[in-house]
Symmetry: C2
Subunit: 209 residues, 2 copies
Amino acid sequence: MSAATKEKLLEGALRTLVEQGIAKASARTIAATAGVGQGLIFYHFGSVDELLAAACRFGAEQRVARYRERLAALNSLTELLEFARSMHEAERAAGNVAMLGQLLAAGQSSPVLAAATADGLGLWIQELESVLSRLLAATPLDGYADPAGLARATAASFIGIELYEGVDPQGAGSALDALEQLAGLAAGLEGLGSLSQRVVRRGLRRGAR
Amino acid sequence: MSAATKEKLLEGALRTLVEQGIAKASARTIAATAGVGQGLIFYHFGSVDELLAAACRFGAEQRVARYRERLAALNSLTELLEFARSMHEAERAAGNVAMLGQLLAAGQSSPVLAAATADGLGLWIQELESVLSRLLAATPLDGYADPAGLARATAASFIGIELYEGVDPQGAGSALDALEQLAGLAAGLEGLGSLSQRVVRRGLRRGAR
DNA sequence: GTCTATACATGGATAGAC
DNA sequence: GTCTATCCATGTATAGAC
């Protein structure tokens, strides 16, 4: 049956990307992982790139859906930071972040993969952006920080650090620690009194140019 | 002559990586770019991966050397920020950041490339770390922010954003803008009076856990 | 020691079988 | 409509020529 084969291929593509990387994600390897004939990729998806693109969108939607309601229920940057830590750890373990990194790199020279990766990343960014714009409003950063830009910077940075982890686990650990400290700084602003907040705002205006 | 061929191959590998990405960086393609026979890669470097590894170290050293003295001459975070902007723009245009991204992704499943990329990135990180630890000392972040971790986070984040730019130029632009605002915040702290600095320090201690 | 011609492996894609 | 057997391009690696 067609639908079953298509899904086997999507799962096979995801598993191959996560376990062996884009370099090994050939039609033959993916088909073997999926347990189907190699030619089926071209029948069902047209090309390897298009299968990978479909798998990217499929996988990202699957993963983001896991967190959507819980993100909407958060009430402070501190809570977000706490939640983000466990979320990142879970996605890292699932190999999802590294997979996006692989596709992102491949997307540099494949328009099909570029569009798919932008879409997949976009799902994460959308969630981040909406929770950030809701929560930043309660801090002195309101009106100063741009939630859309921050969401994109955060998503891209995590992917960069995750890729970095693959070549220097210890260095990546210290990078994540440093960012957590920085995020904790912003979260700490929530707890300041109104006088201190005013001082901070003045500092921000001066820092801006 | 041997040395000339080796250098042609190193340059050819760099050009291929920058212009066509890791996916096209095969022995045939690189050799064609370098204008030499394909088999020479294996004679001089043993394998394609080892050539790419050598090229990565070669290229990173070349690029970092350009900035070493100028970074050492900087005297404030504001100056650093200004300089970093032009430096990043120049490297971006040269394709160097994207190349590191390509190698970083490939390094996930190739120990040889992983080691080389870690080394290449390490050169940038080393420069960043030394200038950051020197300049952060003059701000309220002194003792709070970890220069080693920040340098690694910065380098990895820029690579992530650069890869992101390949699939969503506009989104990457807003991400960079947001980070510049954030960096400007830290730079602004330099100009605060001692009372305000004390308030900020108190906030930081509260934000830390 | 340096390089080229050639062998062998893997990958993408499709014509045609069911 | 679904799938398999087969073709051709591209890739790695080396035996042997110079």
